[in-house]
Point group: C2
Chain length 462, copies 2
């Protein structure tokens, strides 16, 4: 028995018959085109279209081109790309070459995003030569089992999307479509998944084929049914896992369409940003630089690393960081730092050697016996058996530090560094605001879990 | 061979013959007075006068009244105090009863501070009933050995005095006169002591009689020659020990009279205090309350404890403490706190339970799902698997916190709390200044080791 809420959600997310027919036609055209090329490759529709688990309005179509595994990787690449490109030439409005583990063609055909991916037609999943070779096995595994549970998969995917935890990319660190399918299969339905997820513990292990061949350290482990050595949910971070958990708890307690179709994330105005900072009493700084010309899965981990490194730089210089964030936009990236103070004292304590290390202690005394801060003849003193001296800070203003070249000396990641070496800007307070960053800033200054956002949406509705 | 510097110091600190005669006369009068009372007590001169190691101008005279150890403690107390009081009645300009481990009489006789201390005449130091019984053994031990080294003891004592490390009281945590005597005896002279002290390591062990009966944990261990289970330098803190060490190093490198007669500690004016704080960029707060009516050795440890507790209170409330200090004056006590900021943001992060503790996590969410900071609908978010919420600080201004009654809730020590419960005041910046605290404040704001003070004195001399 499906609840009225879920029925109404399903009526909105189930693809309509005309949509299914349309996709089937496009797929058939592409399959026919492959056959017509006379190249020894077997086309296969994979992904949610093949499994019937796509959501109304999805415009993604994945077609894999399976080649004989006796080819070399170079031959596969040459022949595969040649075939994919020639199909795109015939059918696509536009296309480009992309690169995951192998190159493939990303084309737009009748408004659909079609990926044409060459791979090896291996005998078993244990014989794969690269990750793409595994995909056909996933499709076969799911297709053979999912038919009675298609609606449940749609609900699970939409639930994850609504909660902002759908997607295994580096920025989201969430739940892939395949993972949603496996979870529904394992628990036997959407409701059972939600019931179970509400009690997930770190280290929860799901192994549908009971064939795990190694230990996994990720907080959620779903062993790939086609590969006992792979965790399908390896990308799911602890926080994304528990955002799913709290959404499950919240849904069980008080189900609502809002879980599937959440209120839009608010974008604050510049004035709202300024007034929120005033209420909080914190100080906001943004570092902005041109987005490196690489895919998000390459750039985003570097942004996170840069954020952590700059956070360390700030704290080493006495600026306590209340919170930090980063975002990759089309044209530029932002590192955000919310500080508890914008200025720090000129004087800071500098701890020297213990006095029982006579050589170093003498050197330290010699260096600082006349003090370090102009206008303050403050020599070293002894604390816990060590020399300590008050020295002058290099930066007493956070903006000066962030504008200094010291920022290029910390661990930024190669592409971020290359971009910043050309140019970066520092904004503070209201000047951090811009139309493109308004939503991100709003969520950064007033942080909420997915469930808290839904609660706030409910309150607004009243 | 004594250096000209040391000879000139000795000529200033050696008691002159008339002084010695005068003290001997007073002592003889007191001894005669005891004999005339017909009470079975043997008077004994102890301390530096008995040993000939007192410094020119010292006005202390310790006379112990040794009773038969077969008396009970009550009998000793009754008879001893009766005898001491009756001598004071006869000879003293004024006197009062004081209390260390036992009561004794502190009298002023011909301008000298004379302590009349009843104790037991025990057979050996191992048979002592209280600490005062040990003193006659110390005097006998030193008197029998120190004659050839009296000048060296005078130099050692004056060196420790000049460096501010003389005295085993709770505020100083330094070197007692008896300890100086033992160090000179052990090393065979002042110069040898200075040579050795320059290389003291934590855990340095000196055991003149090679009869240590236990392990000591203090940084400097000088086993009492009359009691193998007692560390004469138990009161010496690690910092006082290493202040002595650095003075020894400085003296070896560049001997000067300044080590014995240091420049007076400067007292800053109110304007100097304000301008130094401005240069440092720090924020000064003072808590002032009436000095509890107890001796410094009772009050000072409570002041230190109070200082640490209030420091903890400040830091728990987000105020980073740059340095803290305390001082006991005649009429009032001060706790000083130098902060890196006088204000902190309204918002602070409050970490809640991990989400895998479902009961507590639900409770936390329920409490905070509408946010905590008025004007900011900030619900909890998830970080490292835990709920975190931004809540409003109770105090954003340090003075408000220090003026609140929360200060009475922290560990203050009994007498400090009793005094503060009646009244305390909070001052900030220049208002912390007063004539009585000017020297203490000057040393607090510009901290210097003893050697750094001497260096500064040298620079001033040029």
């Amino acid at each position: 028995m499906r609840s009225p809420i879920e029925e109404s959600v399903l009526s909105a997310i189930r693809p309509v018959p005309a949509e299914k027919d349309h996709i089937a036609q496009i797929a058939a055209r592409i399959m026919g085109a492959v056959a017509g090329k006379g190249i020894a490759a077997e086309p296969m529709i994979v992904g949610s279209v093949a499994r019937g688990t796509f959501i109304h309005g999805d415009r993604d179509l994945d077609i894999f081109l399976l080649f004989d595994p006796s080819l070399s990787r170079e031959e596969l690449q040459d022949q595969g790309l040649f075939l994919a490109r020639s199909i795109a030439e015939d059918l696509a409005e536009r296309y480009c070459e992309k690169y995951a583990e192998h190159p493939y063609i990303s084309a737009t055909i009748e408004g659909f995003d079609v990926d044409l991916v060459p791979c090896f037609r291996v005998e078993s999943a244990s014989a794969i030569q690269s990750a793409v070779d595994r995909t056909p096995f996933h499709t076969r595994y799911i297709s053979a089992r999912i038919t009675p549970l298609v609606d449940d998969v749609l609900l699970a995917k939409q639930f994850a999307k609504g909660g902002g935890v759908y997607g295994s990319d580096q920025m989201t660190e969430g739940f892939s479509g395949y993972l949603c399918e496996l979870l529904v299969l394992h628990y036997g339905g959407f409701s059972a998944l939600i019931e179970a997820a509400a009690d997930w513990k770190p280290g929860t292990l799901i192994d549908l084929e009971v064939h795990r061949t190694k230990d996994f350290t990720e907080p959620l482990v779903v062993v790939d049914p086609v590969d006992g050595g792979r965790n399908v949910s390896a990308a799911v971070s602890l926080d994304r896992m528990y955002e799913f958990v709290e959404l499950a708890r919240g849904y069980l307690e008080n189900p609502s369409c809002l879980f599937f179709f959440p209120p839009e994330r608010p974008a604050c105005t510049r004035e709202e940003l300024v007034s929120r900072l005033k209420v909080k009493g914190t100080f906001l700084y943004a570092i902005s630089f041109a987005t490196p010309p690489f895919i998000p899965d390459v750039v985003v981990p570097q942004l996170r690393r840069s954020m952590d490194s700059v956070r360390g730089l700030l704290e080493r210089n006495g600026f306590a960081v209340h919170s930090a964030g980063c975002e990759m936009f089309e044209d530029r990236c932002l590192l955000l730092f919310e500080l508890t103070a914008d200025k720090v004292p000129n004087a800071r304590l500098h701890r020297g050697p213990p006095l029982w290390n006579r050589t170093n202690a003498d050197k330290f005394f010699g260096k600082y016996c006349a003090g370090d801060i102009p206008g303050l003849s403050s020599g070293p003193f002894i604390e816990n058996g060590r020399y300590v001296v008050e020295i002058q800070r290099k930066y007493t203003d956070a903006a000066d530090l962030l504008r200094s070249t010291e920022i290029l000396e910390v661990g930024l990641g190669r592409h971020v560094r290359q971009s910043m070496e050309l140019h970066w800007e520092v904004f503070s307070g209201g000047d951090c605001w811009s139309p493109d960053s308004a939503t991100f800033l709003s969520g950064f200054i007033v942080r909420k879990s997915p469930l808290a956002r839904i609660h706030a949406g409910r309150t607004d509705e009243r």
